[in-house]
């Protein structure tokens, strides 16, 4: 059996090359060679996502690379977790969606794959979600974090976006207990925008979102 590091390098290379079939073959080969399901996640998927995060400032991955990395992560998580010897301890839960008027779902889809690979439960509400629905879904599912992905300036800044979620959280006395995270194009071009829309944090890209959401789950659990 090759070392887990070798499989990781081969896998990450396939993701860099946006070669989905090759990446899946490497995971299959690792499994056939005896790599445990737990190690597929902890030794290959998660470190590959971390490499993207570590290179964010010097050599950021392209959207296509994140797309393939996340798509495979989703697929492998679904295959591996049922094979774990014991049920994995989940880090926490997030409800995620796009705000009212925003029909661009790719960002949240990519983020979801990375979060799931890092043992964060994702409740994907879909597109065009009202502030009330975000909050109710978070309460009902016991999520510590609400994540809102916006592609357009007016949906990021509108009253029915994060600002509206902040308002509903305040009205229900849930600020602090449920944290609000945002991401998407407008935030990359206005790095203070997350504060203006009442969010607790933002993620520069999908790989960075993992650390941000993990930190916010930790903050919520302190309350």
């Amino acid at each position: 059996m090759e070392s887990i590091e070798t499989y990781l390098n081969l896998y990450h290379e396939a993701i860099i090359d946006t070669d989905r079939d090759r990446a899946l073959r490497i995971i299959a080969t690792a499994r056939e060679a005896g790599v445990k399901p737990e190690e597929i996640l902890s030794g290959i998927l998660i470190p590959s996502i971390n490499r993207f995060m570590n290179e964010l400032l010097v050599n950021p991955a392209s959207l296509a690379q994140h797309f393939i990395g996340s798509q495979i992560a989703n697929e492998i998580v679904d295959q591996m977790i049922p094979l774990f010897t014991s049920s994995p301890e989940m880090t926490g839960r997030i409800v995620i969606g796009t705000p009212v008027g925003d029909f661009h779902g790719l960002g949240k889809k990519i983020v979801s794959g990375y979060l799931r690979a890092n043992f964060i439960d994702v409740v994907d509400l879909g597109l065009n979600i009202s502030p009330e629905r975000f909050v109710i879904a978070a309460i009902e599912s016991g999520a510590e974090v609400i994540g809102i992905s916006s592609m357009m300036v007016h949906t990021a800044r509108g009253e029915n976006g994060p600002l509206g979620v902040r308002r509903v959280l305040r009205e229900r006395g849930l600020e602090g207990k449920i944290r609000l995270v945002v991401g998407g194009v407008p935030y990359r071009f206005d790095r203070e925008l997350y504060l203006k829309v009442g969010a607790d944090a933002w993620g520069e890209d999908a790989s960075a979102a993992v650390a941000v959401v993990t930190e916010q789950i930790r903050e919520a659990r302190k309350r």
């Binding site: 860099i16 090359d17 946006t18 989905r20 079939d21 950021p60 991955a61 392209s62 959207l63 296509a64 690379q65 797309f67 393939i68 798509q71 008027g101 925003d102 029909f103 661009h104 779902g105 790719l106 889809k109 357009m152 300036v153 007016h154 949906t155 800044r157 509108g158 194009v185 407008p186 990359r188 071009f189 206005d190 203070e192 925008l193 203006k196």
Partner: protein
């Protein structure tokens, strides 16, 4: 001098009173006319009138014939567009829901006489009669490789583009190319001087460098060989392009490059050299909250980095609806002041 003379001077490296200034106040035209965004875009006469009024009001050098980007999806048969009160419309129905839909997809050609293009035709006709030859009329045309996003959504297109299957991917690209060529022809016949070739898939922010070389570049070459380089501006949305400019210049001869605010202006200018026009843009997304003084500082810094040596155009990115009018005025004052050659 008028806008067309300034643009030509910048393209040719000849003297002018100042650098050309391009601005895209699209949805703001509705506000200017006191109508909803939905009503505004339903009528080519309103769009033309709005654009002429905005140019007069602020004094920039170009005119837009663009309604909204999702219009191209409507031309392919999308029956739903979702309008907002304070921002651009969204595509509400994807015409390709499954790969089988690609088998039945037909581009709306010929476009010029197509009923769905009637309002664009009306808009172009008014712009041409009112300002043709004096102010460059800009058309926004989505490239072959990017157009499928509007037809099937970004995720589905990424999946088909990166992982196949080959046959529907190739067929879709061929259909989009046929439409692209027809659309450029229709806009040029209607009076457009500038073709903003919108191609985020021609940026390494979207696809890795190897993919750009192997897949994006051949389609860029094919697109440009079909339409020629006249008036064509290379544009990757808000994505960066400094990594690919040299290749695109050598492979296609496109004569103008509209950078991302995330690109380094000085580096872009150096790469382009005297081979083409460098267009740099202000990051206008935070401009909603800036003070007029902050707007002036940002504009000054971009122009000071790009203007030396000429062959430079100052532009804007998305100009969100909520930017206060005083900030737009500050932008224009600063661009005129710091962009002046006299």
């Amino acid at each position: 001098m008028n806008g067309m003379e300034r643009l030509n001077a910048a393209l040719n490296g000849t003297p002018a009173d100042r650098i050309p200034i391009f601005c895209n106040l699209l949805d703001q035209g509705a506000q200017e006319l006191g109508v909803s965004i939905r009503e505004y875009y339903s009528n080519g006469e309103l769009v033309a009138t709005g654009q002429l009024l905005m140019r007069e009001k602020y004094g920039y050098d170009n005119l837009w014939s663009l309604f909204y980007v999702g219009r191209e999806a409507e031309l392919f048969g999308s029956r739903s567009t979702i309008f907002a009160d304070d921002g651009p419309p969204n595509v509400g129905e994807l015409v390709i829901k499954t790969l089988h839909d690609i088998d039945r997809l037909e581009p709306p050609v010929p476009l010029m006489d197509h009923p769905l293009f009637a309002e664009e035709r009306k808009c172009l006709s008014i712009l041409r009669s009112e300002a043709g030859g004096r102010y460059p009329i800009c058309a926004y045309i989505t490239s072959t490789m990017t157009l499928p996003v509007l037809l099937m959504g970004m995720g589905s297109w990424f999946s088909l583009l990166l992982s196949g299957p080959d046959e529907p991917r190739q067929r879709l690209l061929e259909i989009c190319h046929r439409f692209f060529v027809e659309e450029v022809k229709a806009y040029r016949e209607g009076g457009a001087d500038i073709i903003l070739y919108s191609n985020p898939f021609g940026s390494t922010d979207f696809v890795p460098a190897h993919f750009f070389q192997e897949h994006s570049l051949p389609w860029i070459r094919k697109d440009i060989e079909a339409i020629g380089t006249s008036g064509v501006v290379y544009y990757c949305g808000s994505a960066r392009m400094n990594d690919v400019i040299d290749t695109v210049i050598r492979e296609t001869g496109i004569g103008a490059y509209y950078l991302s605010p995330l690109d380094d202006t000085g580096e872009g200018k150096r790469i382009i050299g005297d081979r083409a026009l460098c267009c740099d843009v202000v990051n206008d997304i935070p401009m909603i909250d800036w003070t007029p003084e902050k707007v002036r500082q940002e504009v000054r810094s971009i122009i000071e980095a790009g203007k030396p040596g000429g062959r430079f155009l100052f532009g804007t990115l998305v100009m969100p609806f909520r930017i206060p009018a005083e900030n737009i005025r500050a932008l224009m004052e600063a661009a005129i002041r710091f962009g002046s050659w006299e």
